[in-house]
């Protein structure tokens, strides 16, 4: 679980740090678009697979199965 949370933290940190990263926050174009825009879009898109790793992890599946079965919750 900790591994998944670390993966999830990567896009969060990348997005929060956008304005402080000199190689991102400058007047430059990446693939013809502003670097800040490309950076933001890439890391926003990365949130979905990072959350999906957590959501579809065996541990989460077990927790859901326990809850659905009315079993004891840890």
């Amino acid at each position: 679980m900790r591994r998944y949370l670390i993966i999830l933290a990567i896009p969060v940190v990348a997005l929060v740090a956008t304005v402080w990263l000199p190689f991102v926050n400058r007047a430059s174009l990446w693939f013809g678009l502003p670097s800040v825009m490309v950076w933001s879009v890439i890391w926003v898109l990365a949130i979905t697979p990072a959350l999906a790793l957590l959501e579809f992890s065996p541990r989460q599946r077990d927790a859901d199965a326990r809850e659905a079965g009315g079993g004891p919750k840890r």
Partner: protein
């Protein structure tokens, strides 16, 4: 009647038809009306919550902000996905507790946790007061779109009245189910229109998206990075953080019906997994705003940037379709706002003696609140503009109260929370209207500091007077289980 106005009015009626399709027969049960019997799966939830993301502000305002502030507008792109990361963990806690304790509103949740009807009343009043200008913004946004497209103020007023009479009608009939069905239509038309515009407008005016940004690089390079000035790093960072925290802690009352309508915590979580993908569509109106930067003369009205370009580049009937998409981004979020506000009035502000009278108050509130916002939008459009400045920062002051209420144990009593909230609101009003604050750090974040200081001081005082006993929240086994799962 021009082809633009004809298409616009037909589109507005079509949106309302989708709203009526949400329910076959009207219900008299407030819970069913507000939360659809808590039966929505991840797909419906997705459209409901995506519907909250795209309002007239995002459709017209994002293009306008990119036009006036360049890439600084991109603060709005990550804040909602960042909040979804936190909501993935927090929203199931809220859902479970609300489900077990029968909460219908944000104020129900707070009043129950802190065992204080007064706190519920005060947060509900703040919720309604701060959302009223937000509702009016949707109405004036629709009016602005029609006016820019037709050049006629009367057509604008008529469209606003027709659209919002229809919104009231389908909201009264269908409740949240109507919001869900209109959301399908809204998101479909909005995405199609945005994709057409983001390709066609740069191609028409500059030769393409790449050419647009190369022109900006040559003529307005400052617009491609965040630098000193009005939209500086402090503004960008603090606006993003304040907005993220506001969404993460569910400070907007109209977020609650959509969340509580989910059929299970799994549906809630799955929704937050996939919603960030949709959020990148916010970049599309920004690209159009950048195109306006190299096309429109300096000093042009920023909120009209998108429609101004559309008007120059497309035939009347397509301008009408764009206005219908704009109308959808006004009518659908407005319907969600009405459900959030009316349920607060019926549940937490008005004193009612029966379920029946509560439902009637709710329905009356839908009509009354819309009439007030519509009347002000037409007669005094500027009256609530200043109040809108308070909406985000003011609602951010609920963060400590809601954050502490997510814990399994009551660490703080109601009086410190209430004192912090009131001090936070006073500081927000003072900083916004007092002409004393010239910083660029978000006012809501600044005001959170005294809010939390007063809360902590009050807690120390309360514990000194009453001992250090911590109250356990009654009957909340699910809420206690959730933090354990996070580890």
């Amino acid at each position: 009647m021009t082809s633009t106005l004809t298409v616009t009015l037909l589109g507005i009626v079509l949106i309302a038809v989708f709203g009526f399709l949400g329910r076959r027969k009207p219900t008299g049960d407030l819970s069913e009306w507000t939360h659809g019997g808590r039966q929505f799966g991840a797909m419906t939830m997705w459209f409901l919550q995506a519907g909250e993301v795209f309002t007239t502000f995002t459709f017209l305002g994002m293009a306008g902000l990119a036009f006036s502030g360049g890439v600084a507008a991109l603060y709005a792109l990550p804040y909602i996905p960042l909040a979804y990361v936190g909501l993935y963990f927090l929203a199931p806690i809220i859902w479970r507790r609300a489900h077990e304790r029968g909460h219908l509103t944000q104020a129900d949740f707070l009043a129950d946790f802190y065992d204080s009807r007064l706190l519920g009343f005060i947060t509900a009043v703040f919720g309604v007061v701060f959302l009223l200008p937000y509702l009016q913004l949707q109405i004036t946004g629709l009016g602005l779109a029609v006016q820019l497209a037709t050049g006629d103020q009367t057509s604008s007023n008529v469209s606003m009245v027709i659209a919002f009479v229809l919104v009231v009608a389908f909201v009264l009939w269908s409740g949240i189910r109507g919001v869900a069905t209109t959301s399908y239509f809204k998101d479909a038309i909005m995405l199609v229109v945005l994709l057409v515009l983001v390709v066609a407008i740069p191609a028409h005016f500059t030769g393409g998206i790449g050419a647009t940004f190369h022109k900006i690089m040559a003529t307005h390079p400052d617009m491609l990075h965040i630098h000193s000035g009005t939209y500086d790093s402090a503004w960008f960072f603090s606006s993003m953080v304040a907005s993220t925290l506001g969404v993460l802690f569910m400070t907007f009352p109209h977020q609650w019906p959509a969340l509580l309508s989910a059929k299970s915590p799994v549906a809630v979580r799955r929704n937050y997994v996939f919603l960030p993908v949709y959020s990148i569509a916010l970049a599309l109106p920004m690209i159009i705003g950048f195109t306006a930067l190299v096309v429109l003369p300096k000093g042009s009205k920023s909120n009209g940037a998108l429609l101004n370009l559309v008007h120059q580049a497309f035939p009347g009937w397509f301008v009408g379709i764009v206005v219908v998409a704009t109308a959808a981004t006004a009518m659908v979020p407005a319907a969600g706002l009405l459900i959030g506000m009316s349920s607060l009035i019926a549940r937490n502000i008005a004193r009612t003696r029966s379920d029946r009278s509560q439902f009637l108050v709710n329905q009356g509130a839908v009509v009354g609140v819309t009439a007030l916002a519509l009347g002000l939008a037409i007669a005094r459009p500027d009256l609530l503009v200043n109040l809108l400045l308070l909406t985000y920062s003011g609602l951010d002051q609920l963060i400590p109260a809601i954050g502490l209420a997510l814990l399994a144990r009551k660490l703080v009593g109601v009086w410190p929370v209430l004192a912090g909230l009131l001090v936070g609101e006073i500081v927000v009003i003072w900083l916004t209207f007092g002409d004393t604050y010239s910083g660029h750090v978000n006012v809501g974040l600044v005001a959170l500091v005294p809010n939390i200081v007063v809360l902590l001081a009050g807690t120390v005082l309360e514990r000194t007077l009453r001992g250090t006993k911590q109250e356990r929240v009654p009957q909340l086994p699910e809420a206690e289980a959730e933090p354990e799962r996070l580890r």
